[in-house]
């Protein structure tokens, strides 16, 4: 099954909520919409579902134009971030809801509901009501309802955001598998870069109502097309530094010269971006030392996030092991040019590495 968007956009009150998007969604791999809150993920999902009408463009399902077709007539299932179930019905009836409406034979409904409930380990709770369940169980009820329908298009809007850590890990692993077997086009919206990478498949990054890049998750992560994409796809936030290319040299704001081939970047201002885990507090071969001041250190078990002030810019370094430098202490960050992203003045990626990997 496949769904394709051609210039789908939404404007409300003269303000564009979603700039026109053109993309192909196939059943082969999960699709992840990645972006911060307010980037337009939910808007795009609602347009895909047919809950909202696009102000421009067309949507095709299986090659047929379904633009403007009301949601009742579409083969869609959706799971929201909030746990949405019908409180007056039992869990069984909640899961069976789309099948009851479709007037499937009783035995078939029973079999499908039991199957989905088994996969999501909800079998013991089928006779309860949703509000008597924990949050995780409520969300699994909603997911089961999306699963039994065997819809051509399954949409998930941050379905795991309100769940506790353990459940999230578990479901994150299971979800793509559950829906891959059904042959549905699976679209998953999230704010977390790690989730996008773990789910694999194709990623579409969104920033301020714009789809900035579409591609395989790993590739988009390694070669973000522009600064906005790199920012969306970095957690902790991307470390950035203004720089200038001129006279065959690349100079950072503090006067530090980065070794880079002269032909790599055009002359003029540019932005260097590097992710927290690519920086080091210990000398690295081929890296450039940059003086910094420690602001705060966060230790998360086996790793430490060291927040630094680098010439007035807030940077974060992910250091292995437990390190507790005192705030105000001087530190040296080692910047490996081979791991730097360089963006031109227009924000487009100019180079995914300032030097060939050694």
């Amino acid at each position: 099954m496949s769904v394709s968007l051609e210039g789908i956009g939404l404007t409300a009150g003269g303000q564009p909520l979603l700039h026109p998007v053109t993309m192909e969604l196939s059943a082969a791999r999960p699709h992840v919409l990645l972006g911060p809150t307010g980037a337009g993920k939910t808007t795009l999902l609602r347009l895909l579902a047919g809950l909202d009408r696009p102000s421009s463009g067309r949507i095709f399902a299986e090659g047929r134009d379904v633009t403007g077709r009301p949601v009742r007539g579409r083969s869609v299932a959706m799971v929201y971030q909030q746990f949405i179930n019908y409180p007056s019905m039992t869990v069984f009836e909640n899961i069976a809801s789309p099948l009851r409406v479709a007037r499937l034979p009783r035995a078939e409904i029973e079999a499908r509901v039991q199957g989905a409930a088994g996969l999501l380990r909800m079998t013991p709770y089928l006779s309860r009501r949703p509000l008597e369940l924990s949050g995780g169980q409520q969300q699994r009820t909603a997911i089961a309802r999306a699963l039994v329908k065997r819809a051509a298009l399954v949409l998930m809007d941050e379905p795991l955001a309100n769940l506790d850590y353990k459940l999230r890990e578990e479901l994150r692993e299971e979800l793509p598998r559950l829906f891959a077997e059904s042959g549905s086009v699976f679209v998953y919206a999230t704010t977390e870069p790690a989730e996008a990478l773990l789910l694999g498949g194709r990623v579409a990054t969104l920033s301020e109502g714009r789809v900035t890049q579409v591609g395989p998750a790993g590739e988009v992560f390694r070669r973000p097309a522009d600064l906005a994409t790199a920012r969306v796809f970095s957690d902790p936030p991307l470390n950035e530094a203004p720089a200038r290319q001129g006279d065959g040299r690349l100079v950072l704001a503090g006067g530090i010269v980065l070794p880079a081939p002269a032909a790599l970047l055009p002359d003029g201002p540019c932005t260097i971006g590097i992710r927290a885990h690519e920086l080091s507090l210990d000398p690295l071969p081929g890296a450039v030392p940059i003086p910094a001041v420690v602001r705060v250190a966060e230790v998360t078990g086996s790793e430490s996030y060291i927040h630094l002030d680098v010439g007035g810019l807030p940077w974060v370094v992910l250091a292995p092991g437990i390190r507790r430098p005192e705030p105000g202490e001087a530190a040296t960050v080692w910047l490996d040019p081979r791991r730097c992203l360089a963006f031109g003045a227009d924000g487009q990626l100019a180079a995914a590495a300032l030097a060939e990997p050694a």
Binding site: R72, I84, V101
Partner: protein
């Protein structure tokens, strides 16, 4: 017996309002403020409830007395209790038909108000349309005019179309006040239901009427109950329109009660019995919505 014991025991066991503390000599000075603190709130509450209940008690009291006893002086309870007053109401058609007439138009009105208000409240809660906020406020402003304003035009109109002196006349007239109120209450309750439920039902394929009845209504059942309660109560106690729009066939109980001055003077006991019977339906309805009533007074907004 130690001095501390009565200090602790007295307030706990004390349910009546008589604040005479049993304090042993020698402990008096230190015990008094403590006693006050323990009994004070109970005393206030007791007084409050007494004042609230006195008129109702007096009504019940009177309804069980004979006219002679009522007129002869003050007695705190009936000396010769009688059910004669109640018997007359239940056997005399001019009395019991008043209750039937009242119930007819009250139930009619409650049903009409809810049937009209449910879709209207859903629309106000779920859709944005031109002038929705103004229209919503205008609805409530209908309640700000006194009933007397509507009495004349409605009387003339009903006379012209032949609705006069029917239960429908009063039921429809009361809609002017009850539909806006029901819309406001229901809108508040409906806006508390996440829109995603509607969408999920649509995605599942539910038709709108099926969704509304099977899924949505159970979620706002409390609101429906509260709206019904307010419609019922308003319609039940409203006097002016009910009396203006009826004469004989549909004469409501409130009208019967205010016209009962016979040649022999006031029939106090009978009126009191009628009063008691008039309170009962309201009390029953309140019982059903007691858990939602506070939210109802806030028009469903929490």
């Amino acid at each position: 017996m130690s001095g501390a014991q009565p200090r602790v025991a007295a307030p706990v066991g004390r349910k009546d309002a008589a604040p005479v503390p049993a304090v042993l000599p020698g402990t008096r000075r230190s015990a008094r403020p403590e006693m006050l603190r323990a009994i004070g709130p109970r005393l206030l509450l007791a007084l409050y409830i007494v004042f609230l209940l006195v008129p109702i008690y007096w009504l019940v009291n009177m309804s069980l007395k004979t006219n002679a006893e009522i007129a002869s002086g003050m007695t705190l309870w009936p000396e010769r209790p009688t059910l004669e007053n109640y018997r007359r109401i239940f056997t005399d058609a001019s009395w019991y038909s008043g209750y039937i007439n009242s119930l007819k138009y009250v139930l009619l009105n409650t049903a009409i108000s809810l049937l009209v208000a449910l879709p209207a409240a859903y629309a106000f809660s779920r859709y944005r349309f031109l002038g929705d906020k103004h229209l919503f406020f205008w609805l409530l402003s209908n309640r700000m005019a006194p009933a007397a304003v509507f009495a004349l035009p409605v009387f003339q109109l009903y006379s012209a179309v032949g609705l006069f002196d029917t239960p429908w006349a009063v039921a429809l007239a009361h809609c002017v006040f009850n539909i806006p109120l029901a819309v406001w209450i229901l809108e508040g309750f409906m806006s508390g239901v996440p829109r995603e439920i509607d969408e999920t039902a649509a995605i599942d394929g539910w038709s709108f009427p099926a969704f509304f009845v099977r899924i949505f209504l159970p979620m706002v059942a409390g609101g429906v109950g509260v709206a019904a309660f307010f419609c019922f109560m308003f319609s039940w106690v409203e006097l002016l329109l009910a009396r203006t729009l009826t004469t004989v066939d549909a004469k409501p109980i409130v009208a019967t009660m205010t016209r009962t001055v016979s040649a022999a003077g006031m029939d106090w006991g009978l009126l009191a019995a009628a009063g008691v019977l008039t309170i009962i339906p309201g009390a029953i309805v309140i019982w059903f919505v007691r858990n939602h009533i506070a939210r109802g007074f806030a028009l469903g907004r929490v």
